[in-house]
């Protein structure tokens, strides 16, 4: 197997007296598309939060690219190459779609150059061009000047993904990237993500309820149930796992 990019070891997370994660071991290998599935409330989003640094685990460790990042804040992990989207797309609602991308691109650029960039009044020509190119690439040109808050649900998700990719992450974490989308939008998203993976240099960790999306993208599947991993393996292995069939009562998994 290839190198491990992200590794969570014995992750536990308590919210008060509720234990949401009960000692989860998970990893993402370089170049793989690892999909976490599980019923509502299984702890998928919580696992994402712990892995990305939005919250710290009660116990356990997280390492990225061989270094321990358990106590690094989310913004620091982002700088090391972790990118993530949220279950409910988060964007800067009052800024235009174009400005959303400018903010993302400028944040990335500042890490490489000096903080004097902050004094710039107008975004650099290279940033503006890049923002326009990305908007075109993601078919968002027609909403470029719109306040991002007024975009359709699908476009918001696409914009958020475009912003995250603007930071050129090595690991992309997507929490239900197609939730609430129309079947057409959903199909387009799957193609988009599959295309990104083909480009190389990117690893994927995502959660999803739609089995067509899951089996369309996954090179590996992990099943989370009540904060515990009950199965992990190739799509075929997971599909034929009796424990998984029991949790899902056969319906979606066998249908896909």
């Amino acid at each position: 197997m290839s190198d491990i990019l992200l590794r969570g070891t014995s992750l536990k997370k308590d919210y008060g007296r509720i234990t949401v994660l009960k000692g989860v071991d998970i990893d993402v290998a370089e170049g793989e598309a690892h999909v976490v599935i599980g019923p509502n409330g299984a702890g998928k989003t919580t696992l994402f939060k712990v892995l990305s640094g939005e919250v710290f685990p009660t116990s356990g460790t997280v390492s990225f690219d061989g270094r321990d990042v358990t106590r690094l804040a989310g913004w620091q992990r982002t700088r090391h190459g972790v990118g993530r989207t949220f279950q409910m797309a988060r964007i800067f609602k009052e800024l235009s779609a174009f400005e959303n991308l400018v903010v993302a691109l400028e944040a990335k650029k500042r890490q490489g150059t000096s903080a004097l960039e902050l004094l710039r009044l107008v975004p650099a020509a290279s940033i503006r061009d890049e923002a326009r190119r990305i908007l075109a690439e993601f078919s968002l040109e027609h909403v470029s000047a719109w306040p991002a808050g007024s975009l359709s649900h699908g476009d918001k998700k696409t914009l958020e993904l475009a912003m995250v990719l603007a930071a050129r992450p090595r690991l992309l974490m997507l929490d239900e990237p197609t939730a609430g989308m129309s079947p057409a939008d959903r199909q387009r998203s799957v193609e988009l993500i599959a295309g990104l993976m083909k480009g190389g240099g990117l690893s994927l960790l995502l959660t999803e309820h739609d089995m067509q999306v899951v089996f369309g993208l996954a090179t590996r599947i992990t099943v989370l149930n009540y904060g515990e991993i009950i199965a992990t393996g190739s799509p075929e292995e997971v599909r034929s796992n009796p424990r998984v069939r029991e949790v899902y009562l056969g319906h979606d998994v066998s249908a896909a």
């Binding site: 913004w75 800067f92 009052e94 400018v102 903010v103 400028e106 944040a107 710039r120 107008v122 975004p123």
Partner: protein, 326 residues
């Protein structure tokens, strides 16, 4: 150049020049009493701009801006009176002291609490500063520091005396113009873009690699320092600084002024502060009830027009345009 007009630089410079021109022309047409109030108004404009920068750009609600006025005023006055500094270094000292206080308050309060809780904490810190300053012997306890002179502005090659009231008034206007430009730049540069993004969604900004707490702290320190420098102009202008500069009323003033003019606009606090000064002047003869009349009027306006005067003007203009296009 079209790029710069997109961020509104020419428009900003035009309005700033217009306002500065009006302020400079004032002593030629108005009596000294009005000029004195205008000097205070310029200082209050800067204080209100700094408050609104925190409120509307960064999304931080501070109820304790008086603390920075207070330490700025005392810092500047002490630098002149005890250390014999000339004017610009004295302002620098004031900005430094106020900035450090903002840093201390920010480190303690900013990462712990949000919104109203933060506002209440700033109010508590400001009350503490107010009570403390009133008890320090070298600072004159409740009587404050009196007899603050107006040292010359030392520009290295030339020394400009600003002892005369009109000269010092021009100095206040000059500092006001510079600080207004600083606040505009902080709002509209890449720094301001990051702050606006943070205000709209801290989590998203963080997961773009932005050190959210660092930026919020930097913005809080900047606003504190600017407020402190404005406060330092008060001593030489009124010849006295008292603990009352740190009274909570001084913290509510910039809030009211920003809301009055329109907190959603850069120029909102400026409009609000000017109107505030005009109201104060117009009601000056109503001995004893000035505060009640001004307060009542302000409250009525703020309640009647939530977007402030600039918001109202905007809607009126849109209405007229729609009528015309019919």
């Amino acid at each position: 150049m079209t790029r710069l007009s997109q961020v509104g630089l020419p428009q900003f410079l035009a309005i700033l020049a217009l306002l500065a021109g009006a302020a400079v022309a004032l002593p030629g047409i108005a009596n000294p009493g009005i000029v004195f109030l205008a000097g205070l108004a310029v200082i209050e404009i800067v204080i209100a701009l700094a408050f609104n920068f925190l409120f509307s750009t960064v999304g931080i609600l501070s109820f304790g801006q008086a603390a920075f006025i207070l330490v700025g005023a005392y810092g500047g006055a002490a630098a002149i009176k005890f250390a014999g500094l000339s004017l610009l270094p004295a302002l620098l000292v004031a900005g430094l002291v106020a900035g450090l206080l903002a840093l201390a308050i920010g480190v303690v309060a900013l990462r712990r609490v949000e919104g109203v809780y933060f506002a209440v904490l700033t109010l508590a810190f400001a009350s503490l500063a107010y009570l403390t300053v009133g008890k320090v012997a070298v600072l004159g306890r409740e009587d404050g520091l009196t007899g603050i002179t107006r040292p010359a502005v030392d520009l290295g090659i030339v020394e400009i005396p600003v002892v005369a009231t009109t000269s010092f008034y021009y100095f206040i206007v000059a500092v006001g113009v510079v600080l207004t430009a600083v606040m505009w730049f902080a709002t509209n540069s890449q720094f301001g873009r990051v702050l606006r993004a943070i205000r709209q969604d801290q989590e998203r900004a963080g997961f773009l690699g932005v050190n959210v707490q660092g930026y919020r702290l930097a913005a809080f320190v900047l606003a504190g320092a600017v407020t402190g420098i404005a406060g330092a102009l008060l001593g030489p202008w009124t010849q006295i600084v008292t603990p009352d500069l740190g009274h909570w009323i001084q913290s509510t003033k910039p809030i009211l002024q920003a809301m009055l003019g329109g907190a959603g606009f850069f120029w909102g606090p400026v409009v609000g502060a000017i109107l505030f000064a005009v109201l104060t002047y117009a009601t000056r003869t109503l001995v004893g009830i000035t505060e009640i009349v001004t307060g009542g009027l302000l409250l009525a306006i703020v309640l009647a027009i939530p977007g402030g005067l600039l918001g109202l003007t905007g809607s009126l203009l849109r209405m007229i345009r729609r009528e015309r296009s019919r």
